[in-house]
Symmetry: C2
Subunit: 380 residues, 2 copies
Amino acid sequence: MNLYLLGVTGSIGQQTLDILRKQQNKFNLISVSAYKNIELLKSILEEFSPKYATVHLKEDKETLEKRYPSIEFGYGQQGLIKAATYGEKTGLLINAVVGSAGLKPTIEAIKKKRNIALANKETLVIGGEIIMPLVKKHQVSLIPIDSEHSAIMQCLNGEDKSQLKQIIITASGGSFRDLSRKDLKDVTLKDALNHPNWSMGSKITIDSATMMNKGFEVIEAHHLFNVPYKKIKTILHKESIVHSLVEFKDTSIIAHLGNPDMRVPINYALFYPNRTAFNSDSLSLEKVSSLHFEALDETRYPLLSLAKEVGQAGGLLPTVLNASNEAAVQLFLNETISFLQIEDIVIQCINKFKTTNHVTLENIIALDEEVKQFVYDLYT
Amino acid sequence: MNLYLLGVTGSIGQQTLDILRKQQNKFNLISVSAYKNIELLKSILEEFSPKYATVHLKEDKETLEKRYPSIEFGYGQQGLIKAATYGEKTGLLINAVVGSAGLKPTIEAIKKKRNIALANKETLVIGGEIIMPLVKKHQVSLIPIDSEHSAIMQCLNGEDKSQLKQIIITASGGSFRDLSRKDLKDVTLKDALNHPNWSMGSKITIDSATMMNKGFEVIEAHHLFNVPYKKIKTILHKESIVHSLVEFKDTSIIAHLGNPDMRVPINYALFYPNRTAFNSDSLSLEKVSSLHFEALDETRYPLLSLAKEVGQAGGLLPTVLNASNEAAVQLFLNETISFLQIEDIVIQCINKFKTTNHVTLENIIALDEEVKQFVYDLYT
């Protein structure tokens, strides 16, 4: 199968390559994108020889095309779109870009009737109202690369969705789950990047700590599975072994369990709709010994309840939520602001940007830029 | 749909009627069987007006037919078979008889192309090698009424069985799970009947305490899902919330969870292959708070490992296992023998009856009687 892999140097991209190395005869890696990690990209180009590669900066593109004359190169947003739509054949776009930049490439790939394996949450959070009708129109598969949504998709296998009572998304609680809100005042970037269960990129690790990530997942689940918000519940489950659950109207709950290893949902997405063996240790329930569940305290995690309200409101408000968060997390990663200021900024933006414009790609992109600029201007 | 309900006065029978009362327009209760609980049977006859009813004793049959001239009555094994095969129409046989008496009625109902909802474990434990080819030949559905097997069936919904890595059957540990083998010496019948999680009939409650029940379930799972014994694992899970799990080759585990309520698997069997709402509380994972798993100590429960060996050996050996256990449990329920003597008797019989005869219904029935008689003769 032809693969188009956006975000090849990131955590999901690297784990995808891990799988490809073991399944080389089954996939052709046609195009890749990277941001600024050029050294890692070079080794990937040498190992996988894609036809097209794209990076963030024009100067990196120019350096690379001198060194690898047999590969076509691009840069910036246009490069991302070209990587997603490269060539004339069908295949699978793996979108593991971070942030709103992932939206347009997804849309263009769907229009080319490519199936989508989606690790880029923003595509659905801000663009769900556009994406889902397109997925239907072009009859492509949209397969989540996310332990929770992959779990939910698997739990719904072979089931009649009209019998769904609720979706229960589990949350590990993130890096600061054992701290009170008072304790959060002085946490450092280093503390925040230390997730208890999952090894992930820095943006999503911070989003886990603020629980913004779980809020995004609720919005994603709403779009992916066409389920109203009142039927999507979140629950604290510190072990990250139960990846999510689905309850049917007969009170049966079907759950997906496994070791916290992103290669499992990646593998599922690569071979969907079939399963294929993944050579790794089985989860040992005897070793895990106990699984814990608690109600999520939404006063402890204000961004989670805010995300549910924003999702419910719909329209362009999720774009404000995502853009303000994306900019705020960037400022936190740069150590410009403190951890709790992420929440303050997001709440401030939700109150400020009350747009009633239609949800179009153009309006999303314009608003995304406007909100981010507003946030950056606060701190320069 | 036409229903034929064997064991109507037992625990599963009564819970089935609970569901029928709420779904009256969907089912016709055509025939019922009871053992000796004639008073309860009378109230059922008056409420549901079946066309045929059968009991254990001839004198009870004669009393009943005088009182209910519009209902046809039978008794004994022939009555059970007639209840299972009554009339010419198709429909669903719910076999909730206890013991080996359930085998022949199941076979005859399958031959009439009736689907089977099976709570009678013995049908598969002793007759699996006959039943499964018949199910295939007559293209009927065989739906387990058992929390574990119903769970496994649901976890396999929509899945490719060639991707199955293992089945994991959970065990509550039964009434004496917190006692050592030394402590088991002096336990009473009353103690044994006090199951920590499930309200069930007395035979199965004792079988849970000895873990013979879990051994039977392993043999049943082998036949029902056509899975080799080496891929069937058992695990101690005291809360009985996770009813069983299935692991695929990609290390994904799909599990079924719910409150311990037999009406859920009964409801699933009644409406299979569709789900239908069951009006009961959802499982609250927050309230349950923690789920525990431990390896099952097979030296603590020798009948479990014995059952796995017997199942693996196949042939008529499972008939010896079941018959010796059935007779021994009867002796324990009559307070003729002690709890640990159940194990002694079963092990003694497995060593004594080493038959190499072919698995035919006649051989099963003859051996079943021979083994039971041998056990009863030990104590009279």
